[in-house]
């Protein structure tokens, strides 16, 4: 439950994608693209540890990462303590929280 609320523990996260690492991968990919022709894809030039796309941030901008190397974005860890009530129908909500 805690993991679902706050994201996986740091031990389970992939290595942090730093700006330097990102630039290095981009350079590698560009070089590979430049010296080959045909169907070489950018993604093939960078290491991949999974196929699932994730939302991450680079320089405060969100982007969709398909490389499997970025740190996924998790929402801020507010208590979200109204969530259980938010799932109720209007009638059930008013039945229980008339003066909430």
């Amino acid at each position: 439950m805690r993991e679902a609320m706050n994201g996986p523990s740091p031990a389970k996260l992939p290595a942090l994608l730093t700006r330097r690492a990102f630039a290095r991968m981009l350079a590698t990919a560009t070089a590979a693209f430049a010296i080959t022709s045909g169907k070489i894809a950018l993604a093939s030039a960078v290491p991949s540890i999974g196929s699932r796309a994730i939302v991450s941030f680079h320089m405060d901008q969100p982007y969709l990462d398909r490389t499997g190397t970025a740190v996924p974005y998790y929402r801020p860890a507010g208590a979200r303590s109204a969530q259980s009530a938010g799932l109720l129908s209007e009638e059930l909500f008013r039945r229980n929280f008339i003066y909430a």
Binding site: R75, P76, G78, A79, R80, S81, A82, Q83, S84, A85, G86, L87, L88, E90, E91, L92, F93, R94, R95, N96, F97, I98, Y99, A100
Partner: protein, 486 residues
């Protein structure tokens, strides 16, 4: 064994708390105005044990009184259960012995004849004493310093009704309290006993009369010469109780009726006016202009409470459970039983509205109440998916101009009933608004203090509790002079 795990609505912020607490020198964000000296007292409920029936009303929650004591710019908090016979019986049995709201036929036989009142509605300071009020029983006297329960109170034996309203009114001119009990002679009786009690706490007048049908008589208003008593579509009967239902059901065919009772008259002098189906649960104020009685309140279109369902089996209608600030005018010279009604503001609001109580019975300008502003942000990532469904603003409604000023609590908060605290010797509306906010992101409660004339500027201070306070029905500010505070 206490187990709330199968109660899907009692989760997260809304899970029972069930503890008593003292917090000395509370954390404050901003500042506490030094001129505030007294106490903000909240009364509401919490479940000591889970309800016996899933469809019971939240009005059956055990009473819990809590107080923010303001002195020299410091705030202390104290919270205590109201230790009624019902609370003590449940605690001794380690389970819920009492059944549905105001239906003793659904109780465990072991508690037959015991006072069922949970004392969870309104705190009252009068004649130097602190009371809890619940309309199905007598007031309970509470020690204003320890919040320990002293016991039921009947004004030296002179108050004869078996019940006492949650909304007595104190005349700011005479200092008299106008109060009443309905179902005054027992369950399902159509008697109302109306009392005047002087500022020493002595009963000076009693008037007994009957209502056209047994119904909820939750709140009243007073003018210099009259008491205004609305009744509306909630109905009850002994048959209904014996069938094991909650006390009230909603009958859409019942007209909303308003009694105008002369404060010094007899039962024969009462005038009953009739109008379309409405639900006037709480009032704002009333006054006289010539031969007219003018009454204002946040009035619902229809049944606001789904736990008191329609008696015809139809579905409760959420779209009609909306309250609007309305004005009803009664011509005391008229020959018929009709009255006029105006909607003063087009937006729906919380029906827990307040005015500057120094202006009760008199012309006044400002009403305060909470409302839900769906245009304001609600951070569902931090707070949970409740945006637009809870009150996030307090409004000051100017009845003279039709304008409204607004205080916004924040994008992870909801607001409970507002309270107006007048500045000593200040003009009408000059002072502070105060009320409890639920912070769904931080899982805690915060007491909001804002300048009533500068609501848009936000609060001047927030008193932080490091936990969730119990649910409130009503909260009141009591000045240092009103109670024998230590």
């Amino acid at each position: 064994m206490v187990d709330f795990s199968n109660m899907p609505t009692m989760k997260g912020f809304f899970a029972p708390t069930r503890f008593e607490a003292d917090v000395y020198d509370c954390e404050v964000i901003g500042k506490v105005p030094a001129e505030l000296s007294g106490a903000f007292v909240r009364l509401g409920g919490d479940w000591l044990y889970p309800p016996k029936f899933d469809d019971d009303s939240p009005f059956s929650m055990d009473g819990y009184i809590n107080m923010f004591r303001f002195k020299n710019g410091v705030v202390d908090y104290k919270g205590r259960w109201v230790k009624t016979p019902r609370y003590k019986a449940d605690l001794a049995a380690h389970k819920q012995l009492f059944g549905k709201y105001r239906n003793p036929f659904t109780d465990d036989p072991s508690v037959k004849g015991l006072d069922r009142s949970v004392q969870n509605t309104t705190p009252l300071a009068f004649a130097g004493k602190l009371f809890t009020l619940k309309e199905d029983g007598l007031p309970y006297e509470i020690n204003c310093n320890t919040l320990e329960t002293i016991g039921p109170y009947n004004f030296h034996g002179k108050y004869k009704s078996l019940t006492f309203t949650a909304h007595p009114k104190v005349d700011p001119v005479s200092g008299e309290m106008i109060c009443y009990g309905y179902e005054a002679e027992g369950l399902e009786t159509n008697d109302v006993f109306l009392y005047t009690i002087n500022k020493k706490g002595e009963v000076t007048r009693e008037l007994r009369f009957k209502v056209p049908y047994v119904s909820m008589v939750h709140d009243i208003s007073i003018t210099k010469n009259y008491v205004i008593i609305p009744i509306f579509g909630f109905v009850s009967s002994m048959e209904r109780l014996k069938e094991g239902k909650v006390h009230w059901g909603w009958d859409d065919t019942k007209p909303a009726m308003v009694a105008i009772v002369p404060r010094d008259g007899e039962a024969k002098d009462i005038r009953w006016f009739k109008g379309p189906s409405r639900a006037t649960v709480h009032t704002l104020n009333a006054r006289e202009e010539g031969n007219r009685v003018i009454f204002e309140a946040p009035i619902y279109d229809s049944n606001p409470f789904p736990f008191f369902p329609p008696i015809d089996g139809s579905k409760w209608d959420a779209t009609k459970a909306r309250a609007y600030i309305r004005r009803q005018t009664f011509n005391m010279n008229s020959k018929d039983d009709g009255f006029t009604e105006e909607k003063l503001f087009e937006m729906n609001v919380s029906d827990l509205g307040r005015v500057d109580d120094r202006y009760l019975t008199m012309p006044y300008r400002y009403a305060f109440t909470a409302y839900a502003d769906k245009q304001r942000p609600f951070d569902e990532w931090k707070a949970g998916n409740l945006g637009g469904r809870v009150n996030n603003c307090y409004g000051r409604f100017d009845l003279a101009t039709g304008k409204m000023n607004s205080y916004f609590a924040g994008d992870t908060h909801s607001l409970q009933e507002v309270c107006f605290v007048p500045r000593k010797n200040g003009a009408e509306g000059e002072g502070y608004i105060m009320g409890m906010a639920s912070n769904y992101a931080e899982l805690r409660s915060e007491l909001i203090i804002a300048d009533a004339q500068r609501l848009e500027e936000g609060d001047v201070g927030r008193v932080i509790l490091p936990f969730r306070a119990t649910a409130q029905v009503h909260g009141r500010w009591f000045d240092e002079s009103e109670l024998p505070f230590a």
